[in-house]
Amino acid sequence: MLKRLLQSEYLILALCVVYFASMAPFAEGFASGENLGNILSAMLPLLVVATGQTLVLITAGIDLSVTSVIALASVTGAMVINGDNGALAGSGFATPAGIFIMLAIGGAIGLLNGIIITGFRMPPFIVTLTGMMFFSGFAIWLTKSKSIYNLPPSFLALGKHTWLAGATALLVAVTGHLLLTRTLLGRWLYAVGHNPKTALISGVPVNRVLILSYVACGLCAGVAAVLITGRLETGSPVHWRSSLLDIIGATVIGGTSLHGGRGKLLWTVFGVLFLTLIDNSLNLLSLSHFSTMMVKGGVILAAALLDSARRRLMGGVG
């Protein structure tokens, strides 16, 4: 029984349930309806970014620039559509234009990442790390480190109403899932992650596939920027500044391999849920930021240990 659970791809989901059940008596209000709503709405943007990250990790790449994409997209969109001095202040087009700008910035940065990585054969880690530094700096420089308020209510609705945000996140995740499991591009993403040489010789347009994965990842970060900006009602260059490890952590805890070729969107959903549960429960216990980080580090390490034990077990059987 234990062995079967360990081998199951629902292991992380089971861990979520166990964690929830064991924390509920200690953290007051953890199981309340209101808190469950909080958990859900906190999950949604993370799920959207992690979806894109999953695609990139499957190709054996990594995208560290996603948090800077969120920041830059958030402030650029907000600068254009805010009611104080935005170019489209008060216009009926403000909301669609804001969404478009945020997605376009995400897609463009993804495209840039992809082109540099494939064109100059650079390691994705370096390209996206320097991208992160540049674009997050750029976002702060643009706004002189100030947040932008007074955004159109119809724009804010997207992030504020959990059902709307939920529908958006669901759409992104389902699209990602279908892309991976049912389309040619999905097959190619795995093949490139497994072995790019074999993929190239088998007729896979490896560079195009890689570029597309970074574009998709950037677009997802753009969608997340829309949700986050709406939920927090501000465009800010420091949105999600310290969330990079949550994004990659959630994806990897779910079981997607950093070495490429192995990963599923469902796993990422579980990873996101797990990380959000931990965050939320620790907040309820009103631990300090630092103790929260310590506990989180420990729990993530424990989950990773369990996962590697599981893989050894499965390797032994197979």
């Binding site: 040619l184 795995y190 093949a191 074999t198 088998s202 347009p205 070729g261 192995r262 197979g318």
Partner: protein, 511 residues
């Protein structure tokens, strides 16, 4: 005659399957025993027991008359058992000296004694017949030199028994000669050796005794004089293979399907011109480094070419990327199936359907029809006679070498290639699987495809091809039709001035 190593009644099972069934034989001091058998006959399990990676379920080993039961590779090395593997275990980013002493750096007060490492390395390299600077990085050595460094490494533990597993697969003819001369000297020093290889001619030439394994049992053993290649093969497969090469039913057709004209790339290939007809099997012979593999890579669009044209069915393809050439019907089985032929961690089904996946994609979104793919996979598995015991979801790395090669073949056959380029298609696979690969090549030609085979085994080309091109130093030196196939003529053309160049380059070292 003293016995250096004795196997007695060794048995081993995995998951209830008996892999070794009471294997007994002896390796006398100063003699070389050739261990042959098909893939899966139990050779590697036996060697893993000898090397301390596995423990036998029953039976025992003895070394120089004393019981020997290693619990780890470290214990095996301490007892004087040295392994030289098919896949070389050297760290290419380290120097020769560092590789030799990696596990046992001589130290004083915790610091590595670089001086004594250097002098000891020079000694060992000399014994192995290499005249190289100990500080040379391994990545700068040729395959043959690396093999000799491996042997120097084996000598560093002062071995009683050396086990060589397919040591010649990546060596040129000349490097092989060099290796055999060295092995002869080691034998004279009283070192016992076990030589594992599919190259039966090498085994017959080199070994004093031969042991044939089949399905975990010794089915034949004795002095070399008692064996011929045919007898070994029939013992290995348990039946007489009357013909090593299956007959093809059809003759090449008139229509030329691939036309290569004046293909040149400085320093790689020079002015290569030939045509391949539908239904024809065309061989390319030549030494390693003659430009044969490089030519194949250029034809497939993996490497650049400066001049020349390549036409597939009359259409120019030389500017197209590999993807478009695949769509047009080109297929390429490379010499390295692990690195370039397969996604080792991915499933059999995913590997089989990789090249033909675009055919199954519908619409702008590239929607895949899962059931059609599954059907195609099931069909092609049967066509390439993949082992029935493997599930399609199983990772490819769990298959034997021969079955892995069938997956690569199946992957391309699913795409119904018009021209199939195969580079060393039978390297490292056993006799039975070879025959099946040949059969598949013939079937493809019978259906009207053009086949281009590159091989180091001249017999293989003679047995399969309608025509053989012989390459040397990047040029086609000779063209031989099947009526006139002649081993000597092919070898001569292959060595034509390439030979003197080769000896000039490699000679002087360790002769």
């Amino acid at each position: 005659m003293n016995t250096a190593l004795n196997f007695s009644g060794i048995s081993k099972s995995f998951f209830g399957v008996k892999v070794l069934k009471g294997v007994s034989f002896a390796v006398p001091t100063g003699r070389t025993v050739g261990l042959v058998g098909e893939n899966g006959a139990g050779k590697s399990t036996l060697m893993n027991i000898l090397g301390g990676n596995l423990q036998p379920d029953a039976g025992c080993l003895s070394l120089n008359g004393r019981p020997y039961a290693p619990r780890s590779p470290h214990e095996a090395a301490a007892a004087g058992i040295a392994f030289i593997h098919q896949e070389l275990n050297l760290f290419t980013n380290l120097s020769i000296a560092e590789n030799l002493f990696l596990t046992s750096f001589p130290t004083r007060a915790g610091l590595i004694q670089n001086g004594s490492i250097r002098s000891r390395t020079v000694e060992l390299l000399k014994e192995a017949g290499l005249d190289l600077d100990p500080d040379t990085l391994v990545e700068r050595l040729s395959a043959g030199e690396r093999q000799l460094v491996e042997i120097a490494k084996a000598l560093s533990i002062e071995p009683r028994v050396i086990i060589l597993d397919e040591p010649t697969t990546s060596l040129t003819a000349r490097e092989t000669e060099h290796l055999f001369a060295l092995l002869g000297r080691l034998r004279e020093r009283g070192i016992a050796m076990i030589y594992i290889s599919h190259a039966l001619n090498d085994v017959l030439r080199l070994c004093d005794d031969i042991v044939v394994l089949r399905d975990g049992e010794v089915v034949g053993s004795g002095a070399r004089a008692e064996f011929t290649a045919d007898r070994i093969i029939s013992l290995m497969v348990g039946r007489e293979i009357s013909q090593l090469f299956p007959k093809r039913e059809t003759k090449p057709r008139e229509q030329e399907i691939l036309q290569v004209a004046g293909v040149s790339q400085p320093g790689i290939v020079k002015d290569v011109t030939f045509a391949l007809r539908r239904g024809e099997v065309l061989g390319i012979s030549g030494l390693m480094g003659s430009g044969r593999t490089e030519l194949a890579r250029i034809l497939f669009g993996l490497d650049p070419m400066m001049r020349g044209t390549i036409r597939l069915e009359g259409e120019s393809i030389e500017t197209q990327p590999p993807m478009q050439r695949v769509t047009r019907g080109l297929a390429f089985l490379t010499e390295s199936r692990r690195d370039e032929g397969l996604c080792m961690e991915a499933s059999i089904a995913d590997n089989l359907s990789l090249a033909s996946a675009p055919r199954q994609a519908r619409g702008l979104l590239g929607w895949l029809d899962g059931s059609a793919i599954a059907k195609a996979v099931a069909h092609i598995r049967e066509a390439v006679t993949l082992t029935a015991s493997a599930r399609s979801e199983q990772p490819v790395k769990s298959l034997s070498g021969g079955n892995q090669q069938k997956v690569v073949l199946g992957k391309w056959l699913l795409n119904e290639p018009k021209v199939f380029i195969l580079d060393e298609p039978t390297r490292g696979i056993d006799v039975g699987a070879k025959f099946e690969v040949y059969t598949l090549i013939n079937q493809l030609a019978e259906r009207g495809a053009g086949v281009l085979i590159i091989s180091s085994e001249i017999e293989e080309l003679i047995g399969l091809c309608d025509r053989i091109l012989v390459m040397s130093r990047g040029e086609v030196r000779d063209e031989v039709r099947c009526e006139a196939f002649d081993r000597e003529r092919i070898l001569k053309a292959a060595l034509h001035d390439g030979y003197s160049h080769f000896t000039a380059e490699k000679g002087g070292r360790g002769e």
